[in-house]
């Protein structure tokens, strides 16, 4: 395959020789170009975000307006609207389940990490493409297949999986327990299997690419923080997704082959099942061994994107570059040893609860360091509020708000009351959902010019940001009150209990805010698709940024740089360097060319740099004369 082999070619060749003429299929569908694959992930992610968001509007209607006649939804939902015009309680659970699954995996894992790891890794490290373009293509198409299966499951007569996005057995294992655990759950498991395969194919590629294909001079200590984040995310995914696969596989066995990994002592539907000796808690351990790292799989790329955008638009180096890397490393490692804080009251040994409480609150420290570093980066900056910058600042706000409530939930004594209440819902929607979503949005606004060669409209971006930022707080902040009051999650209605038979006004407010926030996303959709074709032509480096992707042509071809891949001579955060004429110095500018702005230790490096450049010239010249 000609397209896949280009990364292996000698970089000193003139790439015009290799310009190949893609047909529609190889360019837009079965593409091995990392940029196209990134865009494929993005568009699929956006599609899922609309579906996932729409599902949440459906169940918010039920929660905010329990008396509402939903007859008008019958054309869409059919039998899931009962004779009295109410949403079916089983389908309500299916909605909640699919909203969670779609948002966590399809939007914030594939849509975020898939898009930006693919798009940015080769561009920012100076590579022609991913280590394996073919595997990269497979990664997308496994994801696509997974998407198709999950999408079909929404429309089957018994409904999609309905056991919550965590699909705890026995509920998810027994068709008698809930109709969604029949075919819907089978499709869920198949879809997730393909999804895991897709994640692993992608992750291996990201890791090998970052390790092996960095351009000359791009040492790990000169990598943009985005790349560090994508790299560590891929490592987390590679280590944790197989465990989810194991959990799912055992669940398949329990469901279809009569094993008892998770099932024991069950009497259901008027009969006692033969299974004994299994443990539902085993599933929870396996699930959360992925489930918790998954939070960071979702969050780290967003934090990486934010680091890059905040530095660029503050016209200031990111504060504490090394501290940022160390805290991301810390989060990566700790993310694997905190999983059981989801299970304080699951019946597991309370001693384990104590251990996991200690470990969990340790992970708050690197997170706090990151926040303080962001704040210091803004301090005495020269801030340009591009839409990307606004979304990044919004992300930091959500990260603080949601992160702090994590300190309550990580404390097992306090968690007794708060576990599985709306306090948890508020917590993770802010810190994981909204923060990562804002990272995704920031990334799209910031790298849109590189993706499509055109600018998105900034003003529409501002409106989109403010509507969404205010909207997200209006949706999730009130949930803290509801949660402290003890309202349980995944409840179709709260009026059965005296303690929760209140706050109908607050729930109505939340639902209205959710609808408005969802509506505001259409501003983005319009801006995105319209600008793709009709947006203002972008300049080569619209944000006056330092990183390598802005040294490519406006529409980089397959191979990214028409000539040689540029070499890198400095870290990516030389913004507003004292003495420099401009307020940014791209990574490709040698230190020897900027004596006026070099710091003392950099001045010492100039000599080494010149020697290396001289040596390389000697090697390169004969090479070039050959070709």
């Amino acid at each position: 395959m000609a397209t896949a082999s280009i990364a292996n070619h000698d970089t000193s060749h003139d790439s015009h020789e290799h310009e190949h003429h893609d047909n529609f299929v190889t360019k837009y569908i079965f593409s091995t170009d990392h940029k196209m694959i990134g865009k494929q992930f993005l568009v699929t992610g956006i599609f899922w975000a609309v579906i996932g968001g729409f599902l949440s509007i459906l169940f918010r209607l039920q929660l905010g307006f329990p008396e509402m006649d939903l007859e008008w939804l019958r054309p869409l939902l059919g039998g899931w609207i009962d004779e009295t015009g109410k949403l079916d309680p089983t389908f309500y659970l299916a909605l909640v389940t699919m909203h969670g699954t779609i948002m966590v995996f399809f939007v914030l894992t594939a849509g975020l990490s898939g898009t930006f790891s693919n798009f940015l890794i080769p561009l920012q490290i100076g590579a022609r493409d991913m280590a394996s373009g073919f595997m990269n293509m497979l990664s997308y198409w496994f994801f696509f297949l997974s998407s198709v299966i999950m999408f079909i499951s929404l429309f089957i007569p018994t409904g999609p999986a309905g056991g919550g996005w965590v699909v705890y057995p026995p509920l998810s294992a027994l068709e008698q327990a809930i109709p969604g655990s029949g075919l819907g759950m089978t499709l869920w498991l198949i879809a997730m299997t393909f999804f895991i395969a897709s994640s692993l194919l992608g992750g291996i590629n990201y890791i090998t690419t970052v390790i092996n294909l960095r351009t000359k001079g791009m040492s790990f200590s000169r990598l943009p923080l985005t790349i560090w984040a994508f790299f560590l995310t891929a490592v987390i995914g590679l280590l944790s997704f197989p465990v989810l696969f194991a959990a799912a596989l055992l669940l398949v066995f329990d469901r279809s082959f009569g094993t008892s990994f998770y099932l024991s002592d069950i009497y259901i539907g008027g009969e006692a099942l033969p299974n004994t000796g299994g443990s539902p808690v085993l599933y929870q351990h396996l699930f959360w061994f992925l489930g918790h790292p998954e939070v960071y799989i979702v969050l780290l790329p967003a934090l990486g994107i934010t680091s890059e955008i905040i530095a660029t638009n503050s016209r200031k180096p990111i504060f504490g570059y090394k501290a940022m890397i160390i805290s991301m490393l810390g989060i990566t490692i700790l993310s694997f040893i905190v999983w059981a804080h989801h299970m304080f009251v699951s019946g597991m040994n309370p001693f384990l609860g104590s251990i996991f409480m200690f470990l969990t609150l340790i992970i708050a420290v690197p997170s706090a360091v990151k926040v303080f570093n962001y704040l210091t980066t803004l301090w005495r900056g020269n801030l340009v509020f591009t839409p990307g910058m606004l979304f990044s600042i919004g992300l930091v706000s959500f990260f603080i708000s949601g992160g702090l409530t994590g300190i309550f939930l990580g404390n097992s004594a306090i968690d007794i009351q708060l576990h599985d209440t709306y306090f948890v819902v508020a917590h993770f929607h802010l810190v994981m959902g909204s923060a990562s979503f804002f990272g995704l949005m920031a990334g799209v606004y910031h790298w849109f010019p590189k993706m499509f060669g055109r600018m998105m409209d900034a003003r529409l971006g501002y409106v989109h940001f403010w509507a969404t930022f205010v909207g997200v707080y209006m949706v999730f902040f009130p949930m803290h009150y509801i949660g402290i009051a003890g309202f349980p999650r995944r409840y179709y209605s709260w009026t059965n209990f005296a303690f929760s038979d209140m706050y109908t006004d607050l729930n109505m407010f939340v639902s209205v805010a959710a609808i408005i926030t969802f509506g505001a996303q259409f501003i983005f959709l319009f801006n995105f698709f319209y600008s793709m074709y009709r947006g203002r032509k972008a300049s080569l480096n619209p944000w006056r940024s330092n990183t390598l992707e802005w040294t490519t042509p406006l529409h980089p071809g397959h191979g990214n740089w028409p000539g040689e891949i540029p070499a890198v001579y400095r870290w990516p955060y030389d913004y507003s360097k004292p003495g420099a004429e401009e307020d940014f110095i791209p990574q490709t500018v040698p230190l020897s060319e900027t004596p006026e702005s070099n710091l003392p230790h950099e001045q010492e490096q100039v000599k080494i740099e010149l020697e290396i450049m001289k040596d390389e010239d000697e090697v390169l010249v004969p090479n070039e004369s050959e070709s």
């Binding site: 504060f319 019946g347 603080i400 009150y481």
Partner: protein, 343 residues
């Protein structure tokens, strides 16, 4: 008709948005502001951050204070006072951090908004600062964790010997309650014995189960330790008694437990809240299927003397349904018959 009107409305809205969009694009081209690094919108956005901070801050304080009695559920257990105290201490600590960080986060954009005359400070790192804001949160968190751990250890410690045992079994979609009777020991059970007349699956060949009795409500004495033995018959459930600050999953195949000391009787709570209808409730907090939202059980907390009187009145499973004793071995049948004759 309705749908048609909505359609027209949406169309109208879209076309208005479209016009506004085109006009502002043209205006910005005419003004040449799209060439500038930071247009006048920069100032607006900077200002909006400050306005958002003030607006949202006022709203938050106003609502938090106004609604305090609504969202703060009264506490009715000993450990509940401890965990609530921890909750509010954590709230104070995190609240301060929340306010400080957000004031900085929203004020910096205003203060340091772009100006062509200024250059940002080149300030890449400061190890002293990094160390400070690594250790300070570390120490604060350590204190919070330590107090939490002490409370957690006390709460999850083995129940006192004299605790009143109550078994709560979850199934789709209700709870069933079993008391151990005079011996304060619950009899064995086996899920395979579950039937229409024996919904608990109690094994009556175990002597301890002869005096076990069911109850439609959970009755417990005030001021004395109570041990909930929790199990599930079909899928996961979770016992949640919000006023008791109690929550524990019910797991099929793995019995769990939670002990506590209730501090207020139902009557006292009714007087305190001025609500004659008030009842302590148990809800389910682990998704369990269609009726997840309706698994309610009432807890009635009474004075110890009342509790003893209530216990004496209760009829065992066998007394309520002598058929259960039919297939028992001879010596157990004798015990059962004595019990029946005492009625």
């Amino acid at each position: 008709m309705y749908g048609f009107l909505i359609g027209v409305g949406i169309l109208l809205l879209l076309s208005i948005i479209w016009m506004v969009y085109r006009i502002q694009t043209l205006v910005s081209v005419v003004k040449g502001s799209d060439k500038k690094i930071a247009s006048s919108s920069n100032k607006v956005n900077a200002l909006l951050f400050v306005l958002f901070m003030i607006g949202a801050g006022v709203l938050m304080f106003w609502y938090s204070i106004k609604e305090f009695d609504n969202y703060q559920l009264p506490i009715a257990s000993e450990h509940g006072a401890v965990t609530d105290n921890l909750f509010w201490v954590t709230m104070a600590v995190t609240g301060v951090i929340f306010l400080i960080t957000h004031v900085l986060l929203f004020w910096f954009p205003y203060k340091y908004q772009y100006s062509e005359k200024r250059k940002a400070s080149f300030y890449p790192d400061n190890n002293k600062l990094e160390i400070i804001w690594t250790t300070v949160p570390g120490v604060v968190l350590a204190i919070l964790v330590f107090t939490g751990w002490m409370a957690w250890s006390d709460i999850t410690a083995p129940a006192p010997e004299n605790a009143h045992v109550v078994e709560i079994m979850g199934y789709q979609f209700a709870w069933e309650v079993r008391y151990p009777g005079a011996d304060n020991v619950l009899g064995d059970y086996d899920y395979r014995l579950t039937s229409a007349i024996n919904s608990h699956g109690v094994d009556f060949t175990d002597l301890n189960s002869i005096d076990d009795f069911p109850s439609p409500v959970v009755v417990i004495p005030k001021g004395e330790p109570v041990l909930f033995k929790i199990r599930a018959r079909d899928v996961l459930h979770s016992v949640f008694a919000p006023h008791m600050r109690l929550k524990m999953d019910a797991v099929p195949g793995m019995p769990t437990r939670f002990w506590f000391v209730p501090t207020k009787t139902t009557a006292e709570m009714r007087a305190e809240l001025g609500d004659p209808e008030f009842e302590f409730e148990i809800a389910c907090t682990e998704i369990c299927g269609r009726g997840h939202f309706s698994m309610k059980k009432v807890i009635e907390v009474v004075e110890p003397a009342e509790y003893q009187a209530w216990l004496a009145e209760q009829k065992s499973f066998i007394q309520q349904n002598p058929a259960l004793a039919e297939n028992l071995p001879a010596e157990l049948k004798e015990v059962a018959e004595i019990q029946l004759s005492e009625q």
